[in-house]
């Protein structure tokens, strides 16, 4: 009987965990939908900015802005890693941190001054474990990053870059490709390589009146475009985290169901064999009495 009691206990435990993983999966699904909506709504802004950039390009303007130019030297680099605050999201943080570590080692081998900024408790604890000093930590970003908070960080990077304190900014985050596909990437977002992505063919042929002038608008729009792109990284990271969690929890839930099945089978077998042995004992006892 001892064996079957252990099995019953174990099955109960697995069932409880299955309940938890199922709930977490549902929560992650709901959060993913919300994060996704935010990301699609934010896309309108980026699209419009790109449109205006294309319009400016139509005005025969040479694009020159401190944020677009590659600095002569590349000594001071910053790496921003966007991880999650919570665990139980599969390989999400692991993939990001692996990439971040590789990039950090690369910079270290080149003898650069690295400024490391990490968002998310998971990334922070991993850096602590690796004994890598983090210059700036953020833990306030959950699944709803607000533009004002992100803007603050972006403005600081822009100011540092223009004043020459920073020569390059790399960001490690989960890039959203579509709902079934996200991958961790390292992107260099300062200096801005290509402003609009697809400027060619974007010019609508309309002759605009520029107020105050095309070059002055350009001066303002480059930081705005950078900030929009920076913000998008945060939104992508939030969406990626929820998707990763949903997938991980789904797998965990399915695994728990399989375990319940196999434990139930084991339990039934144990019970059956016990009944059989009891029966044979009774029959044996009755036969002995005759």
């Amino acid at each position: 009987m001892a064996n079957s009691r252990i099995l019953v206990k174990r099955r109960k435990a697995v069932r409880n965990i299955a309940k938890i993983t199922r709930t977490m999966e549902l929560i992650a699904t709901a959060r993913f939908k919300k994060a996704m909506d935010r990301a699609t709504e934010a896309a309108a802004y980026t699209k419009k900015i790109n449109e205006i950039v294309a319009d400016l390009a139509g005005a025969n303007l040479s694009f020159s802005h401190p944020l677009l130019q590659k600095p002569a030297e590349e000594q001071n680099v910053a790496v921003l890693v966007l991880t999650s605050n919570r665990g139980l999201c599969g390989g999400f943080n692991g993939g990001l941190l692996r990439l971040a570590m590789a990039r950090l080692r690369e910079f270290k081998a080149d003898g650069k001054n690295i400024r490391l900024e990490v968002s998310g408790k998971r990334g922070l604890s991993a850096m602590k474990y690796e004994k890598i000093a983090v210059d700036q930590a953020y833990t306030q970003f959950e699944d709803k990053p607000g533009f004002d908070e992100v803007n603050e960080i972006a403005s600081r990077f822009v100011a540092d870059f223009i004043s020459g304190k920073l020569h390059r900014l790399d960001i490690v985050y989960q890039k959203f490709q579509n709902a079934a596909r996200q991958s961790p990437v390292v992107e260099t977002i300062l200096p801005i390589g290509d402003l609009s992505g697809a400027t060619a063919g974007g010019s609508s042929g309309i002759e605009y009146e520029f107020l105050p002038s095309a070059s002055q608008i350009l001066e303002e729009i480059v930081p705005a475009a950078f900030k929009a792109r920076f913000f998008k990284c945060f939104l992508d990271a939030a969406v990626g985290e929820q998707i990763a969690r949903r997938v991980a929890m789904k797998a965990a839930h399915e695994n728990a169901q399989d375990m319940i099945k196999s434990i139930s089978m084991q339990y039934n077998r144990a019970r059956q064999s016990q009944i059989t042995s009891e029966l044979s004992e009774i029959i044996g006892g009755a036969a002995a009495l005759e």
């Binding site: 935010r38 709504e41 934010a42 309108a44 802004y45 419009k48 900015i49 449109e51 205006i52 319009d55 400016l56 607000g146 533009f147 004002d148 803007n151 609508s204 309309i206 002759e207 605009y208 009146e209 520029f210 107020l211 105050p212 095309a214 002055q216 608008i217 303002e220 729009i221 705005a224 900030k227 929009a228 913000f231």
Partner: protein
């Protein structure tokens, strides 16, 4: 040519598209003063200032506070891109007053500091002004 009668206002912030509706006329703050837009306006790309965005719809007029950004007028569509937009009813007068006090306390020893100070000051003042009306 038939006179244009259509005008659509789209107000976009980095987080969301706040407004997308047809209007009769728009008054908006440009970097150097306010500008009015009626249907049939020539195409414009411009820089926005801080202040009140006011527009007339068939149901009456509405106003928002907007904080910098860009405007693009293309055909009958007026697109405003701004970092921050607050509906007139949602403006918190006490918070604006605090922002104004904070802006006043900012140092202004360099050009950069001066421009951030004036920007913050202007934003807070125009918010308060909207609240008083």
């Amino acid at each position: 040519m038939i006179a244009a009668t259509e005008l659509r206002l789209v107000l976009v912030t980095p987080e969301t598209t706040l407004l997308d509706q047809s209007v009769r006329s728009i008054k908006l703050p440009l970097f150097d003063g306010s500008m009015g837009v009626l249907p049939g306006r020539a195409p414009v790309v411009g820089r926005l200032g801080r202040g009140e965005l006011k527009f007339e719809t068939s149901e009456g007029s509405k106003s928002y506070f907007i904080d910098g950004g860009f405007i693009q007028i293309k055909g009958s569509v007026v697109t405003l891109l701004t970092n921050r937009a607050v509906g007139a009813a949602d403006i918190d007068a006490a918070a604006a007053q605090r922002a104004l006090d904070a802006a006043k306390a900012l140092p202004a020893t360099t050009d950069e500091q001066y421009s951030t100070k004036t920007a913050a000051d202007e934003a807070a003042r125009s918010m308060l002004r909207m609240k008083r009306i």
